[in-house]
Symmetry: D2
C-alpha cells in the first residue's frame, strides 16, 4: 500500500472538483427538489439540461440535471484546470496511459472546449478551463432559501481497486492525500479508501473500495451545521423524508457534519459542513483503521445498508452507454461501513 | 419604590400579550418588509388591514398593519384573557379606576367581542378572548423564509411614571415582575423600568421611564441567535440596512439576544431570542442598577440616541386621536441607555 | 378514549416538573458524565448524593445522583407546587384515591417538607414547595461547558394503561394535554400516549403505553440545536459514543430537536431543544396517529429497539424496593416506535 | 492604481499566514485572556514566551505572547513557505530590493531556521518552513472551551502607501487579490485597501491605507457565527466587556461575520467566520467603493474611531526598536471606516 506523501507539483494543474451531470427522469420534479427545497440557484434551462449552482459560486454551473429516458446515474464529473494548456497535457497523458478520451465543445452551456476521458477505474472525467461567469448570490441573502448550499465540494466514487486508482491521481495529477483508511491484514495493511485534494479542503475526490466504477455522491458545502438540519426539516415538511438516507451525523474522517439525501431518481448528494482547511501540502495524511467506530460516524451510529451497497452508475464518454462494473479487490464490508 | 413580589392570583385572568396594530402609510411596502423579508405569515388582507402571525402561532393574527393617512404609531396593544367573563370584570375595573373604555366587535377580522381601555398611563389596551384558529406553520418548514419569527413575545412601553404604572399592572391584573431596574438616589432608590409577565416568559410588558405614553417596540421571539443574524443579512441585502437600529447584542436584563429594526414608517420591532422560562411565580425579581453597563447590553455597546428618544405614539381608544405625552418623572438619561 | 380539553383550574396547584433522583453505581463516574461532559452545574455533594442543576435554574437541584448498590433506576420524580397548602390537599387526594403516601423531610438537601406518593400507575412522585435558592449560572458564560443544559423540562414515563393514567393527571391535578397519539382500531381509537403540561411548555409529563410503571427518560432543555450537536461531539470525543442511543433528530410531536443518551449505568436523559410555548390553556391538543412516520422522527429515521424496550425501573416510596411492572394494555408496537 | 489580476506563479512559494508575536506586559494575564476565555490551546511556555495555537492547527504555534517591558505591539508576523529553498530565494529578493534582513534560528521554540526582513512598508516579516508538529485538537471536543478558535486566518496591516505595498506582494511574492477598495477621485481612482491571499481563503494579508507600518489585527477563524457570539458572552461574563471593540457584524467585503477584541494590553484580534473559498486563482477581484456603507459593515453600523485610529506598533527586525510610522498618502477618512 502506498500513500504518496506530498506529491511533487505536476505539470498538469488541476484546480478543483467543479461540476457533475446527473441524469433524471423528470426535470420539473428534479428542479423542485434541488431548487425549491435545497435552494440551489438556477442559472438557466436549455433543452434537456438544467444548470444549477451554489450561493457562493461564480461560474455558470456546478450541477447539471439532464433529462434521460431513465433517471439515475451520472454522465460525468468535471474538474477545472488552471489553463488551456493543461487540457493539451491531459490529452497526452490519456494517450500515454491508454485511456479513452474525447474533446467536447458546445455540449454544456457556458463551458469552453473540454476534454473527457475515462480514468483507469473507468470513471468518466471532464476537464475544462473556461466557464462563463455569473453573479455570485452569496450576499443576496433576501433571495436565499432556508437551506444554504454554498458550493460543490467533492466527488466520492467507488472503485474496485483503491490502491491503483489512488496512485494514478497522486502521480499523474498531483492530488494530495489528506486522510485515508486502511484494513490491517496478516500480511500488512491494505488501502480501503483515500481522500484526495487539489484545492485546499479535505478533498476534491474520495475513492472508496467497492463495486465500481460508480459515483457514490457529490458533496456540497454548507456554512454551518444548522443549515444541514434545516435541510432535514425542509425535506421532511415537503413530504420527502424518505429521501433522507443517513445522518445528520459527524464523520470522524474529515470531521464533517454530514447528511446524505437521495433525489427522486435515487441520485445521492451529501450536504456537508465543518471540515477544515488544508493549506500545507506537506501535512501528514491522517490514518484511520476501517473498523474504528468513530471513523465513519464519530457519534457511533451505523450507516444503513443502502449507503454501502447503492451508488450511481456512470456513463462511458462515447455516447451514454453505462460503464460496466467490477467487484472490489477487498471484499469484507467494514463493521461500521464508511 | 415597590415591586410586589409574587402578587396574589387576581380575579381577572390575563393570559398573555397577543397582538398590536401598527399604522403604516403604504400597506404594500409594509407587507414587503414584514412578510417577504422578515417572514411573518400573512393570514389575510381585508380592507385597510393586513393580518400577520408568527410561525408557531395558532390564532388569526399577532400583528395588524393598518393603512393610515400618515404612517407611524400604534392604535392599540392587545392581551388575551382566559374567559369571556374576564372581559366583564375588566369593564368593572376600568369603571372603578375611571379609565376610558369601549367595547369593540367586528372591527378586527377573526376576533370576538373585545374591550378597549386606556390604562392609567394612557396606553390603549385591548382585551379579548375569542380569536379564530388558523393552521400552525411551525412544521411547514418548506414554506419558511430564512428569518423565522415564531411568535409575538412582549410589548415595551415608555411611561412617565413607572412606579405608578407598575403598581397598577401588578395589583389590578396580577402581573409578576421578573426583572427591574433602579436608580439609586440620595433618598433611596427609584424604579426606572420593570419587566412584567403573565405568561411564563421574562415578560409580556416592559415599562420604561420616558416620554409617554408611547409604545417603544413589540418584541417577537425567534428560535435562536442565528435566526436573528439572518434578519440582519436579509434586511441589508434587500437595501434596508438603515432599518437596523441597534444590535445584534445581548441584553444583560432578560439575557435576550436582540436586534431592533424600524419598518419603513419608523415603527420599531425587536427580534429576540435566548431569554428564559419563568415557571415559578414566586421567583425573586432580578434587580439591576440603571448604570450597570452590562444591564442594557451585556457586551458593553451603547444604544444609539434614537433608541432612547424615539418611540411610537399611540392612539386614544375613541377614534384615532393621538394620545398626548408627558415628560417622565425621572429625568436623567442612564449612562448606558436601557 | 378521553382527552380532557382545557381542564378546570384544580384546587391543587402543581407548578412544574422539578427534579428526579437517579441511582448510580459510581458517583465519581456519574459526575464525570453529567458535570464534566454534559455541563450540569454541581451544587453540592452530601453523603451518597450529588446535587446538580441546569444553567438557568435558581433552585438547589434538578437532578440528584444517588449512590446505590446497583446502578440504574429512579427513586422518584418530583413536582413543585405553588404553596405549602397544596401539599396538604395532595395528601387528602392520595387518601381519597387509596394511593400510598409518605411525608419526607430532611432527606434531600435544600428541600423543605415534601410528600411522596405512588400514582395510580405506581410511579413514585414527590411534591414539594420549598427549595433553597442558589445562584443562577445563566450569565456566567465563562464557566459554561460547550454543552449548555438550561433546565429540566419534563419526565417521560411508560405506563400500562395510558388512558387511565392520563385521566388522573387531568382530573385530579389539572394537567393540560398539548399533543397525543392514538391508535385507530375497529371499534374506535385508543390513546397510545399523551403529553401533559402544567407549566407553559409542551409538557411536564409524557405518558407512553408500555411495560410500566417505568421512567423512560428525564428531558433537559437546551437553548438551540447546536448545543445538542455539541453534546454528541463531546460525548464521542471522551469515548462515550456508545452512550448516544438515538438522534440527533426532530420529533414531529413537540417539534423538539432531540438526542437520547444513556449514562454509564444505563439511565436515560433526553437533550431537547426547539419545542414551543403553550400559553393558551384552551388550545386544542394536537392529534397524531401512532403510525404516522413523521410523528416520532419528523425526518423519518427509526428509533432503535432499545429505545422502545428499555426504561428505568422505579422505586416504591416506602424504602427502595423496586416497583413491579405490568404489561401494557395496548400490545402492538408502532411501526415507527414513539 | 494597479491590481494585478491573476499574477504568474512566482519562484518563491509562500504558503500562508502562519503566526504573529504579540508583546504583553503580563504573561499570566494574557494567558487568562487567550487561553482561559478565548480557548486557544497552550502548546508550551518557555522563558518569556507562551506558544498558542488553534483547535485545527497541527503546528507548534500560531500566536506567540512575549513578555515585554511594556505591553502592546507586535515583533513580527510570519508566513510559512513550501520549502527551505524558498528562504534562500527570499534572501536574494530582499537583497535585490534593499530590504533589511536577518536569519534567525533557535529563537522560537519548535521553529527551524527562518528569515526575517522588513518589507517595503517597514512591516517585520518572518518566513520559515520547518515547524514542529503537535497533536490536532479538532476532535478533542471534550477539551474545547465554548469559544472555538480553529486557526489563524490573516494579518491586517496599515501602510502609508497601499498601491506600492500591494504591488510588491503581488509581483515579488505572487499574492492574488480577492477584493479591494477604491476611492474615486477627479483624476481616476486610488487604491484604498487590498485583500491579498496565497492560501485559498479571502486573504492572508490585508493592506489598508493608514498611519504605518502598523499591524491592525490578526484574524482567527471560527467555525460559525454562534462561536463568535459565544466569545462576546464569555468575555463579558468574565468582566472583559470593554475589550469588545467592534461587532459582532458582517463585513460586506469578505462576507465575514466579525468581532474585534482588544487584549488587556490593547493588542487587537479579529474573530472571524463565514468567509468563502478562493480556489480559482483567476477569479476577478471584487471591487468596492470606500464609501459604500455595506462594504465595511454590511448591516450598516459604524466602526468606532478607535478601530480606525489605533493599531499595533511593530518592531524593527534588528533588536526590538519600534519602527517609525508615516502618515498615509490618502488622507480622507472614509465615511464608513473600513
Amino acid at each position: 500500500m502506498t500513500i504518496v506523501h506530498n506529491p511533487p507539483r505536476p505539470d498538469i494543474d488541476v484546480l478543483r472538483a467543479a461540476h457533475a451531470e446527473y441524469i433524471v427522469s423528470d426535470l420539473d420534479r428534479a428542479r423542485a427538489f434541488y431548487v425549491d427545497l435545497l435552494g440551489l440557484v438556477e442559472t438557466e434551462r436549455v433543452g434537456e439540461r438544467l444548470y444549477l449552482r451554489g450561493l457562493e459560486e461564480r461560474e455558470h454551473h456546478s450541477l447539471v440535471l439532464r433529462q434521460g429516458p431513465e433517471g439515475g446515474g451520472a454522465s460525468h464529473i468535471a474538474f477545472r484546470v488552471a489553463a488551456p494548456d493543461d487540457l493539451e497535457r491531459l490529452a497526452r497523458l490519456a494517450q500515454r496511459d491508454g485511456l479513452p478520451q474525447r474533446w467536447v465543445e458546445g455540449e454544456e452551456e457556458g463551458q469552453g472546449r473540454a476534454l473527457r476521458l475515462q480514468d483507469p477505474s473507468g470513471l468518466p472525467l471532464e476537464f475544462y478551463h473556461e466557464m462563463a461567469p455569473v453573479p455570485r448570490m452569496l450576499q443576496e441573502y433576501h433571495r436565499h432559501k432556508p437551506v444554504q448550499i454554498m458550493r460543490l465540494d467533492h466527488f466520492n466514487c467507488q472503485v474496485p481497486d483503491v490502491t491503483h486508482a489512488t496512485a494514478w491521481y497522486q502521480q499523474a495529477l498531483g492530488f494530495r492525500c489528506s486522510e485515508y483508511t486502511v484494513k490491517e491484514t496478516a500480511t500488512g495493511e491494505e488501502l480501503w479508501a483515500a481522500w484526495l485534494a487539489r484545492k485546499q479542503t479535505v478533498h476534491d475526490l474520495a475513492l472508496m473500495n467497492g463495486v465500481g466504477p460508480r459515483l457514490h455522491h457529490v458533496g456540497f458545502w454548507l456554512p454551518d451545521a444548522l443549515a444541514v438540519l434545516r435541510a432535514c426539516d425542509v425535506l421532511a415538511a415537503a413530504g420527502y423524508y424518505q429521501c433522507i438516507e443517513r445522518g445528520p451525523g459527524r464523520h470522524g474522517l474529515s470531521n464533517a457534519l454530514f447528511l446524505y439525501v437521495r433525489d427522486p431518481d435515487g441520485n445521492r448528494v451529501e450536504l456537508y459542513a465543518n471540515d477544515y482547511l488544508t493549506a500545507d501540502p506537506d501535512a501528514a495524511p491522517i490514518r484511520w483503521e476501517v473498523d474504528d467506530p468513530r471513523r465513519a460516524t464519530f457519534w457511533g451510529a451505523y450507516a444503513p445498508p443502502s449507503w454501502f451497497d447503492e451508488a450511481m452508475r456512470v456513463s462511458s464518454i462515447d455516447g451514454d452507454g453505462v460503464m460496466p462494473v467490477r467487484d472490489p479487490v477487498l471484499r469484507d464490508r467494514p463493521e461500521h461501513v464508511t
